[in-house]
Symmetry: D2
Subunit: 353 residues, 4 copies
């Protein structure tokens, strides 16, 4: 099988470099080019390396980064994986879609667009059909977004719970990692030994994105889920891995063991389709009393290619009609680059590429 | 005025050393002795110093620590300030009360005892009357506890809100500082770059202590408040200052500005009595969009003697009938040693010493 | 006595805000204005606060910051305290001196200028006379620099050692705090859980500045000290306080106790003159086996106004003709703003203002 | 080939668990049993997991840990890999050697014993012959130690430099990771945002171990190398990876490029023998101006099995007859468990097992 040519947008940033990591040896995709701003034109990946924990191949580290050239990308690449800033992403991604490119983006610019889905294939696989309703689809171009990193982590267990028991109320507090702010991101003088209880626009995103993802797409319209989501977001001095505490109220209240079992058994289309980036267990449930922890669990996921793609749930407790639990997900893998790549793999499996 | 003689129990620990800090130059109290386990007998305070941010006087640093001798304490001290571990505190504090000593304790052992209050004088000043119903009171001995550090921080704003608007529901997630675990406490290999979503028994304490403190004491019985409290507790790599996110539902829903004003104006008996450790503002409300932060706000409080005794509230938001806010308090001052000392000052003002 | 009017340059930065801290209630100086770039014009200090550990007065926090206006400063201020970036400092400080302003600067731009001293009044008090040889001096304007933060810390004990025993060789490795890089400075993704063994141009500065400071000023020329200094500089995840390890070789080798005593007894002109910012002990020698530590010792110094102005030495060891020791100094107080202010106080005492 | 049966001593600790990591799928060795103190008897590895960054196989995590039983180990295991505390190691390891077991130990107890080598097979391969002079060797039992973690990292480049240019003087300052102190090790209240300039006995170890390793073994005696080593040791808030700054004086002074080339080309017997745990490059030399960094370089080493076994050198500079450089090594892999395993592989290749 010929591999699909993929352009990586934003290759000097954390998300861009996670794309490159996940594309090494990918069975479906090959890198067409690494792109960033003019300023980085000509640099090699090794000169701007941000990722701490992945040993890139030497030839990958030698890849050149180029200034973005939309015409050239439209001509040479079937797919664009985008990790560029949202203010830039709006126009850029639209132009690429108009140029016939399938854009899988981590940026927020198009998430609330009319026929653009926020896709997690385990959660809302049918939403991918919205691409057919995008004006550019006739020429092969379309946009699929993935959710904000803090929304992604909880969307998967919330979907599993909603399917089994119905959902009425969600209160979530986040303990978000520094890599979620990109690079240079949070100054160390603010971060070390501190917590910052504010991330610009993050709570609003969580409250609307969850509702869009757990809603339906019918008659070319997204209908948002109705249960309430209340979010408090804070940044903690952790490199990778968003931890989130949840208080939820379900329609029918399962026991702690039933809820754990439901989460543990949850599987979605990526698992059925055996997509390369799909983790065997979308949700890992840990029974230890002090897990999940970012330092120990952020990279959960098997097989090797799906490291950081499992969401880990722990400390499930019940107070009458409420459940409490902690959820951890890797914010630049499952909640970032990995999410976009899984979406691209899913699109490929659906014959859209 | 002759100063009241005070024994400090647990002088090698974080809380014990905060007691010593707050007793330097105290207008009501003077140190009778510093006590700890046999193992530390004979050491000077400077040899076992834990507090990072307070410059003790040289003569204070030279104070000797002695092995606990309950008979001697009962004879020489009118008051004991206790920062010893809960398992040890149960018996020790009972014996001291039986010996005629007024015990103000940070330990959890007696918090749920029949006639023992969990006292925050701004929140539940009438609860101090429960000491009169303790069997040892006739000889001058009694026990007053202060709340767990994570309960204290939110109890003050919750009391202000309950008084003004009624309270129906509280969901709280904590970002707790390392000093809350004492010393040696959390191993650095677990703490650095990590969050630990578990603190033994902490959530249970919060859920019951808040209810006891915000309830009533009538006919020699504590009646617990009825609104629901749901707690998720986690430890973050911060030295001092517990941050807590709150989602609350009040009976009558004020605007954000009204709620801020209510909190800002809140005063209690310690302020009326001008107790030395009482902060001018029990609750400071910050309007900056990214506060309170442990690094910047943990030591809030004026005058100088009340540093770390104000609770800081920020980011008040409203979603329909719910409010969201962040609360920060200094866990070893207001939520620890400072709380016990304020209780002792309050008892003194009430003629109980 | 009328207070001297002082302009603070760079008031949005760490050093600028330390200037403001030390000017609160200063007996010699009063703030003429706070200045920064155009971008910050009109902001209040509270909007751009960086310092974590100092409780500014409310009226200080309300001070307005203005865009720099050199003419106005020349007209209204006798002294400028400068904490602006070196690239900007070169021209700005020259113009102020030409305008008759006495400039005390933390910037590096003029440190190697012909008649400009790098002044630590305990170390090289006679160097201040170089201002008389500056062209602008006839109109009252001149420039005095203080050393780089990592040079300052060790210059004081090295001067004491050189005076007593002679110096032949110094090898220094630094453990430098994040605040030394200013704000935003080091990205948290680089800092948390890491050490960065590189600070641009820092080692070169240390090797030349020490030699200039410990040299002489005669016949309008600086003669550099001859002993060798070899520096290795690294950044560690600490907020304030530069720790430095030293290996030194003296001409006559004292015992460990003699060396400690020499350091402990060291006093300079600021102590004789009882300058307000002069610490009682320029060098504190600690005998505990695990000190000095940034978290415990950075703020060493009495009286209150001289907090952070003492340098702390510990772990003095001897291997034959070599001594090893650790030195800690507060990089934005003694090694930054406090150094400039002490220089200004010294100039005042010398009748130069 | 039948695999050699290996007992792991100290399996609840950091070093013990790194042994287990490196034994997964090892071509020469298989685990006979995991041993620790009575207290941990019956626990599974997953219950006491300390290592953050290695994904153990599920069946490995299920391995049971047992109380140490020296008779049983002597009967069932040919090799013991020891990560037990030094005070316990002295007697235990002697008994095992007497029982015919080949002990490869990370503990310090026997490092200075008469016929016991401190072995790094790239540095002093001939020292392994000392086992033949141990009394227990006739029955197959012997002891081989590896160096202290901070000694190992620099011993390899120092050996390369000594071989090429001679060595006269070494001044080393360490920036040591928290994992070097074991678990629970350094309390987080001491570690976060701090540097501790003291590690018990560490400087003495470095100064003598380097001399023993770089010396010779002749006529059943170790002759220590003569050049001077001066060490300053400090602990920094980093999880894994000891950084060390070096100032060295060689007999003939190469250029920076020559020195880099010498280090880059250095190979030892493990490379010639292609031992499984031998890194292709014992020393990696980086040319970036801000490396090596613990966060980026601690796990250097190819192939996969040798991750964390390369030492990384960077920032080589020259001041006349002195060179300055930074060295980084993984303290629990190359400087801990990996060192012992490489020694065991080397012994196997030499026919000693």
């Amino acid at each position: 099988m010929n591999k699909t040519r993929v352009a990586v947008l934003g290759a000097t940033g954390m998300i861009g470099q996670r794309f490159v990591q996940m594309l090494e040896g990918h069975p479906y995709f090959e890198i067409e080019g690494l792109y960033a701003s003019e300023r980085s034109d000509g640099k090699r990946l090794r000169d701007v390396l941000k990722v701490r924990d992945y040993p890139y191949k030497e030839e990958t580290l030698d890849l050149k980064i180029e200034a973005m050239d939309l015409k050239r990308i439209s001509k040479n690449a079937r797919v664009a994986l985008s990790g560029i800033p949202s203010d830039l992403a709006g126009k850029t991604e639209t132009e690429l879609a108009e140029g016939g490119v399938a854009v899988f983006t981590n940026a927020g610019a198009h998430r609330m667009d009319r026929n653009v889905s926020i896709l997690i294939p385990e959660v809302n696989p049918t939403h991918i059909e919205s691409v057919r309703d995008q004006a550019t689809f006739k020429d092969g171009g379309f946009i699929v977004t993935n959710a904000n990193c803090s929304s992604t982590g909880i969307a998967i267990p919330l979907a599993a719970i909603r399917d089994a028991y119905g959902l009425e109320f969600v209160s979530v507090s986040t303990y978000q990692a520094l890599s979620g702010a990109g690079y240079p991101g949070v100054p160390s003088l603010d971060a070390v030994g501190n917590v910052i209880p504010f991330i610009n626009n993050e709570e609003e995103k969580m409250e609307t994105e969850i509702a869009k993802m757990l809603g339906t797409y019918e008659n070319k319209e997204f209908n948002f889920a109705k249960f309430r989501v209340l979010a408090n977001c804070a940044r903690v001095p952790v490199i990778d891995g968003h931890l989130e505490s949840l208080v939820i109220k379900t329609k029918t209240a399962p026991s702690v063991d039933e809820l754990a079992e439901t989460l543990r058994k949850f599987r979605g289309e990526p698992q059925t389709l055996k997509l390369p980036g799909a983790p065997d267990d979308p949700i890992m449930v840990r029974s230890e009393m002090n897990r999940p922890q970012p330092a120990l669990d952020a990279l959960a996921g098997t097989p090797e290619r799906a490291k950081g793609m499992s969401v880990t749930v722990g400390r499930i407790r019940k107070n009458d009609e409420y459940h409490k639990l902690f959820v951890l997900s890797h914010n630049t893998l499952r909640g970032g680059a990995g999410g976009s790549i899984l979406n691209a793999e899913f699109a490929k499996a659906k014959g859209l590429l």
